[in-house]
Subunit: 457 residues, 4 copies
């Protein structure tokens, strides 16, 4: 059985051209003119693009005895509904836990995923066992290791551990990732704010200023440089962090920066909202910044000093958020976004002229596939590539609303934003997941994508 | 009749993979495994890459009653011998001359070109006629306009003219280019040096310091910004100019920088050579810089703040150079390089780890094709693309020597440099131009490549 | 007859200490404890500081057949009333006019000055006569030469002329000044705006974006560097210009930047006011910028990358401004400020913690005296210095209002701003000009201050 | 009894003028023309300047069971011989030791000092006792606290401790200082080098690259910013650190940088010397850098982004250095310089035109006195100031040689350098310490200088 996407304009990171796409057995098998097949999908007036890849999600993440609300099923359904056909989630070992055991746990959770997925492994503690298990983790298709410079007393690693781990990554051809905020300073600022009676959600933002993120980014870059390894900085939210990244790149270092769609369009005034719920729902780390930082991030995407756009999707319900009433440090950190990343980026990026459609594909899909070393299996409209494809209707509009969303939570940080540019069809390895706007994702369809070490750069 | 390049590893700007390439009627018609055809070329152990494109040459350029020594025949033969399968030359109207008449003249010269070529149009004067002819120039496939900010009293245009022309480019979807040096300052510094008795070739370098180039780059960028048009800065030779470019890019402007292979590997000490001929042969504008500038340019290529590598090939014989004995301002400006760009960049860029092979392809071919709006006809290994292909043997070595070169001049600025990485085969629209290292270029094979305006960025 | 300022705290650029000051014959003759004299002025609770120096004013400046409204009498009275005890005005030769003749004209105007003054000479045209007269200008005590890079067709000089003049300055030990805006671009943007029907005062701001100023600053710096001469950039209004200055300083160049008090506290929203008069009264070049530029300027003052604060006082009445109704290019450029510079800077600089009181003295007086080479005759509280002294009451407040001002014009751009920090007494060469807040300036008291070339840096 | 320095040219940070100086009871009591007194010192042809202040020395510092070789007697004699009339040394408590007890120990050592001195207190550990003793330390005249970010397992404090201490400084109006190198990274790099058999002195330099210093500087600045306190970065040796400092200053932060005379004129090639002793004698932290870093530091001094020049004088004999044969981490860190700072800085700074004589005074004396809050008692030629004065003969030359030096060690890192500009006379609180070039320093003459908190900036 074959499927054909007909009459569309193919848009890749590289180029824009008219052609039909033939899909068979989950793969793209031909690209050309006037192709026909068993099922035909009309892409007239649409762009045919590689499905989005979200390099940064936390589905069913354990937290304080509960879990982030979207699991692999609802999370990937949300993803597909917005044109994202793959997510990369974080495998988080408990302190002292075997990395391989953690992989097993994450494997168990992901059985009902509707789209493909991969994992990053977090280095949440350091020791001989971790050092020894890292090669096996890489062998199992996970050549990317995350390091938290914040969350003191929990996930945080210190410089000594981070340098050791980065050197191990260098030996293995693996890529280190960092959550860059100075955990010591965040912890003290938080305590100080609480002690002064500032316990509301806005206190969360005050406790993590841009300087605190910029410093950690700068430090991680130096350590990567000393270890002789590239570096990927997750959720780059501010000029300070971006400045450190581009300064490093101008010395020839290979450093990647990942703005989130939230930081590109939402700003700190959200925390000034008097409604505790409104503000708490926006609590994430790093917090939203002011508009000058947004300008910096957009320019970075067009200049190439920042490479990808993610969501850090980590959804908690209002009820879960309320765990932090009276103490902002207890508000679960995280927001949604999986469903909205592509339409929102298209609306504020492409429709405004900041990004070309090709750049849109690059930052939502192709660059990610390249950096995470799974191109052109993913991130490409090429013969032989997985048929993860979106048929994008640039004229289609909607107003974002929690009521209509796939995510299981009860709100949406983009509520009320009108987007223009939405998927007409979404294919995940050849299966239709969005059919003329209707979500038909199938739980269990998603498969784990093993990745190789020794990426090109 | 079909040709197949077998058993090689295809390297594009995007990816690296093993496949054979089938060529027919000058086009790539298939890429896949185990392809056979009428003629088979063995690429075992080699990289199969898009042919190089040189975006900046001056073949048979009129100068002081004579012409630059390499014409379209010898120049394109030199190009092909080194893996470059296309050149973009500059059409230079005389003061007051019709742009269309100038195109006619350049068409006449290019009849014996061995590889494909295109033109940039130079705006050497300004007036209603120029303004009116620009649309027709674009219609004839030349949507790129060069502006000289130096060569006072000859090619130079002032800010007012440049701003007018840039605005016209914006209307036409054309891309302005600039030779960025402050012509007023160069002229006075030159006169001062001569007046003080510094008339040797080193005076040329003293008369054009990096600050003079950086200033003009910065000025052209501002004018482009005011006109709402992207900008392409030719022969970016120094940190000052690079700094201006990346500062602009960090504001979201679309500015491109073009280092020359000469500036990447040769430095100002060449001018300290006591041999007049040695020094005069290296006289070009901008002159060679010191090693710190080289670091800046290399980092720019890997960071993406600089995009392409060219030659500004404008060869003059030693005899022609000697026209400037006793007065460096009379030394014809220009050096060769068409033959050496790829091997030298591979040797100093890829073999040292500064650039990946994919980045090598990007900066020598694909980025150029995209910026000049002829991708993927040129700059790609894709079905449907022109079969401009190099089979690159990374183990092949030679020592560069004027004796063995294709260029008609009697010296080579890279003389004595040992390169590792050379073409085994070169195809120009399917024809073999280099056959196992032997040059078989055919005069008259080359065709004009018409380009569209409204490039993607 | 002696005067003593008693019980105050002396604040200089260097230090803060309690002492009395004895004045005789227009000079400070002693500083110490418990000094008595014929007339005693109580400075209890006050700071005793060097009188302000305004390095940039245009009094009775010829314009379109009329003159700027404040002449040397009203202008210097306004100055004294706000604590400024010296102004440096611009001597502007007409095209072709002898520089010496222009000095004569300015000498004639300044006879009724209430405080001391000096002149900068403007290079409004270039030729052998100018070149030849420059040494005599220096000899007459005017070692600073102003160059306009804007006002095309009127005051503007081109790069060639500017480079020639800068080299002449280098020979004479004189300091070049620049008004830095790209005049070609301003002229075209203005014409374009008018052609599109944007003829209101806001068009003035649109025609002179920050990039246009930054570019010219960068260009002037390069030319100064090539000429081997320091540079003083008047009315540095934006980050772009400031960036160019500090980049140059970080290469070891001696470049000075002069923010105006207007640009430090007023922003572009003034031009969005629907009242034509309101907006037109704020028309000056460069125009007011947005708040990010203000942050940059303030930081520059505390970091030392910007050195002085001026006013560019060039006052026109509303009636004069209305000459530009229907064509913003005809609105006389300029605002007042002489009276308000010190109180406004103290209020927004010292009271907010951005500047120390010592830095306040440095940027309003001492740095200016040093750069313009008249320290410590001016700008100092030292024995032997001119007794230009302010007794500053940090608790005194007022609301700025045109009704109460000394300037002859009918409005004030700072109208309604409440300042805290005002002079109790002001002395000009020992004479009381402000007596417990009451202005007692005496026309004709002011004298020309001749300055030497070869300043320290 | 009075002394008069006659016929000289007074050079202060502010100005240059001819005057005589009258000294009585250790103070400057008059400055004027034609002054006479009991003893007259001829300063004809000389500059009369404030004595140098070295803000960074380690005299008789405990180390591995021994002590740095120059004690307060020989160290201050060396200082005086080169025109330095005051040193600020570091009081280093042992882990767990009371700060007040440490002061007592340092008081005991300093009894035979030949010139005045003050102390910085080092925070070598953190706890309630330290927190509680800090106010008393300030009360005893020590409002400056040093923090080591390197020397892991010994002096190093972590971010948490540093942030706590900085906040305590903010409360007390004290100024934190940092030795900025990432101690974790240095420790691992050192172990790695040793493990690879790189145990020679050059290994010391390899273990502490500029990036490691730049990172720590950037981190300390962020922490100071969060604590709301200014910051003083000792021994700023490289562009990376300087860049962090000036970036902070451009945000309005008050950060000071202190290049050492060694880093300004000596470079890393010293470590390539095959003679173990030669190289080991230059082992200090940070190590010498390459020439590009020197350019950065010189420009910083003239631009004002770096403020002072010190020595970090910490002299060890060759025998002591040899303790580290076979293991560079055991080589005592430190070099001399107290005697040479002024002549070397004058030679390479003033004689080359990089610094004016006024700037020379600023960076060697006046700025230090201001930042450390003892101006104008120290660092000034003003009535009432301490008579710490040098009569500087700009024509006097010598070749630096260990043989002729005051320091007790057996070598000099500036050996063989010819300096031009040396003291003719040096006065320490009115006493002659150098008499026409002959050293007459008197042990025990020096007194402790208590300093106040709440410096101006
Ligand atoms: Zn995170
Ligand atoms: Zn995350
Ligand atoms: Zn050129
Ligand atoms: Zn050219
Ligand atoms: Zn002006
Ligand atoms: Zn003006
Ligand atoms: Zn240290
Ligand atoms: Zn030290």
């Amino acid at each position: 059985m074959t499927k054909v996407i007909r009459n569309g304009t193919i848009v890749t990171a590289d180029r824009t051209y008219k052609a039909d796409v033939l899909v068979k057995d989950g793969k793209i098998v031909a690209i050309g003119n006037d192709i026909h097949g068993d099922h035909e999908y009309d892409a007239t007036g649409c762009y045919v693009m590689p499905g989005g890849i979200d390099p940064h999600t936390h589905l069913e993440m354990p937290f304080m005895g509960t879990y982030s609300a979207d699991d692999f099923e609802s999370g990937t359904r949300a993803a597909l509904s917005g044109g994202t056909t793959m997510v990369v989630d974080f495998c988080l070992p408990s302190p002292g836990q075997s990395l391989l055991e953690a992989i097993q746990m994450w494997d168990n959770k992901s059985g009902r995923a509707c789209c493909d997925y991969s994992f990053h492994m977090a280095i949440t503690w350091w020791g001989e066992q971790v050092f020894n298990e890292m090669p096996e983790v890489v062998k199992r298709g996970i050549p990317t290791f995350k390091h938290f410079m914040a969350y003191k007393g929990a996930l945080m690693v210190d410089d000594d551990e981070m340098f050791s781990s980065f050197q191990r990554c260098a030996e293995l051809g693996a890529l280190p990732l960092v959550h860059a905020e100075n955990g010591d300073v965040v912890a003290q600022l938080s305590q100080k704010l609480l002690a002064e009676g500032n316990n509301g959600p806005e206190g969360h933002a005050y406790s993590r200023p841009p300087e605190v993120e910029g410093e950690a980014t700068n430090r991680a870059i130096m350590i990567a440089d000393m270890a002789g390894v590239p570096l990927y900085v997750v959720h780059t939210s501010c000029e300070q962090s971006h400045e450190a990244i581009r300064r490093a790149r101008q010395k020839g270092m290979r450093v990647f920066g990942e703005p989130l769609i939230q930081h590109l369009v939402l700003d700190e005034t959200e925390y000034f909202n008097k409604d505790w719920d409104h503000s708490a729902r926006r609590v994430m780390s790093p917090p939203f910044r002011n508009k000058q930082h947004q300008d910096s991030l957009w320019a970075g995407l067009s200049a190439g000093s920042l490479q990808v756009v993610a969501t850090d999707h980590c959804a908690f319900t209002s009820e879960q958020k309320r765990f932090g009433v009276g103490d902002f440090t207890k508000i679960p950190n995280g927001t949604g976004g999986l469903e909205d990343r592509l339409p929102v980026l298209w609306t504020f990026g492409v429709n405004t002229g900041r990004l070309t459609p090709n750049e849109f594909v690059a930052v939502t899909s192709t660059n990610i596939a390249k950096i995470l070393n799974m191109y052109p299996k993913k991130g490409a409209i090429l013969e032989g590539a997985d048929a993860d494809i979106i048929v994008w209707d640039p004229e289609k509009t909607k107003t974002i609303s929690a009521k209509a969303q796939q995510s299981v939570i009860d709100y949406n940080v983009f509520e009320g934003i009108e987007v223009k540019g939405l998927p007409r069809y979404v294919f995940t390895r050849g299966e239709v997941a969005v059919n003329d706007g209707k979500v038909e994702a199938r739980p269990g369809h998603g498969e784990f994508v093993a990745r190789e070490p020794h990426m090109a750069v």
